[in-house]
Assembly symmetry: none
Homo-oligomer: 206 residues x 4
DNA sequence: AATGAATGAGTGTTCATTCAT
DNA sequence: CATGAATGAACACTCATTCAT
């Protein structure tokens, strides 16, 4: 006489969650390959086997998935970075840990969604998955904090942070394209480049 | 009743060439502001005073102007870079000259077409002018050549080239956003960072 | 864990009837504010707290509720009108009673569901509640009957009925927009206009 | 050497004008049959043989054709009405002339675009072509003016104007549906009804 | 019965490209 | 060659309706 509502932990909730993730994954791939403008909602849902309508059951617009992607990335990477920042005693160890964490994150991502961006694609009129953007934002923040705490020489903070991020991003991308995948070598490269560079940089007023 | 478009038989060729250039300039500006996808052919021709039809007399498609832009950029920058490469006796002087040339190029471009890309644009759905892409391609090539000629230590060439380009690109962008524009400071930053970094990099087998 | 929706076996039928009415009431409001096309099934059920699915348990389509609304209106108004018609001894008294009844009905409806149709709506894309339409149909029928029974001069019956209905409808609408609401004045206006007009109308062969 | 522009009075301009009108006519018919909401841009262009794109070459939106229709109607009817109003010496002659003009206008319109609204159509969820609305607006204005000049008794102006318009509209519609078309009879009916009615109406303070 | 996610045809609108003039 | 109207595939998004739970 009760329980006519099928509110049970049920398959319903499960498929809902699964679909949400499926759309997010598909969007990640499509935005990564095509960029925001060129990607179409149909491109995204085609990969999920769902219908156009279903897309709009989960996200209110193309823009919203894009943003959700950024949130997702930030949410997953932020804790890792913050833990690192908390226990860092000097610049080198922080940098090494952070780069390593980022590259591991990247390698992990790659496994979870097959990057099949056609190699000869028209020069990727964009890169910058929102997810990656969010991660960078996070890195920049923590990085600024480390400098503030005096764990690194006083150089042009903005330029340095931007450079680190640019290098990590670029080398990260290339690392993913090399076989076998060598996270260790890639992060060592980045860390040494930055560390060596920082010592040579012009100092600025504190 | 007269409607003289072609002032004299001789001017005909001139007009043609001028239109080609006009379209290219307009396209540069529009792609820069809006990105490839969001830019429309009408946006481009509106700035030239020509008609849609005329556009297709000069270029077969929107994609073709985009590519032409890349070619144009490369064509203009390549000689400069090659001259540099030819007279470079060591890595440092080459790097300094190249970075400086690139930054000057950037500063020059900025003047020639008003950068009014809305600063708070929704997460850079734009980016990557074909011209800039071409310049990078060029830098990479010359850079590899310099390494080949033994003017720089044997490190991971690909990673290093990619890193230099990434840093130059990133710092270049930020340089353009700072007031006053300080090309000297920006290039000094990049050069020292790279140079210092290179000495710290792990050597590899030739 | 209990989730009691049907408090007792007996209430079941009551709930069903109540839902039917709830949907009808919501539909009346929504169609009134938005018009048939612009109104969505979701707009309707949102006001009832029911689910989309429930809607289709009670009515087979959006169109069906619309029609049901008309039936409902007619069903409620018909007895009133017929009683009037039965005891009418002359045209004037019938007309006065009918108009008055209609305006009272209108005034009553207005109270029962808040008329918040935006006053400056873009040229009344709305209009014609099915209910009102049905009422008119009813009036026309009785009206023809009255004429048949010789209680009014032989004029162009169709034109006259149509005119009366048009005037009543129009003045009824305007009456509702005036403050204070003056049902008496409005019906007096209509009755006198029609009565005065009828005497001046050209007679036709029976 | 000149005149390469094909600017001649040319077929170009002609077809453009013709298309504009064709779209307007099609829109008139479609909006009349379906109402604004239910009518689709595709319904409209289907009747013209043009393409969807062409529609948007002539009007910026569905809403814009709708408005254009109103403008068109007003533009054509206003002069007629104003001339009438200028030479009217008393209420009766003005009313007769105006009603007659409106009915003639209606009859003329009917010829120019075949009214094939399916007889059993779902109760025309709207009526009110924008064109008709505009004409009414005009009538109302002139009407108020006539009253102001003391050519008619001081009765409830708003109610009276609204009633006249409602009757004219309703009888106009029905007139169009009768065979043979009898404009004379229809306008006589309206004029006498109103005139007779006015004398019976309650007077108001001036 | 009740629920609400899934479906997909359909909507208004844009835009690269073609083509008659 | 220039012109700009015509074309129609495509897009983001909506919504009536169905159906598994």
């Amino acid at each position: 006489m009760s329980q006519i509502l099928y509110l049970s932990p049920g398959k319903r909730e499960q498929t809902k969650a699964a679909n949400r993730v499926a759309i997010l994954d598909a969007a990640r791939a499509v935005f990564g390959e095509l960029g925001f403008e060129a990607a179409t909602v149909r491109d995204i849902i085609r990969r999920t086997g769902l219908s156009v309508g279903a897309f709009y059951n989960y996200y209110r617009s193309k823009e919203e998935v894009f943003d959700a992607l950024a949130d997702d990335g930030a949410r997953r990477f932020r804790p890792i970075l913050q833990a690192l920042s908390a226990k860092a005693s000097d610049f080198e160890s922080y940098l090494r840990a952070a780069v390593r964490a980022y590259f591991d994150f990247l390698a992990g991502e790659q496994d979870s969604w097959g990057v099949d961006r056609a190699p000869g694609a028209p020069l990727a009129h964009t890169r910058n998955t929102p997810e990656i953007l969010a991660v960078f934002e996070e890195v920049r923040r923590v990085f600024a904090d480390v400098m503030d705490r005096g764990l690194a020489p006083k150089v042009d903070l903005d330029y340095l942070a931007a450079s680190c991020i640019a290098v990590a991003r670029e080398i990260g991308d290339r690392m993913l394209e090399r076989r076998p995948l060598d996270v260790e070598a890639a992060s060592e490269f980045v860390v040494r480049l930055i560390l060596g560079g920082v010592t040579a940089l012009p100092r600025v007023e504190p």
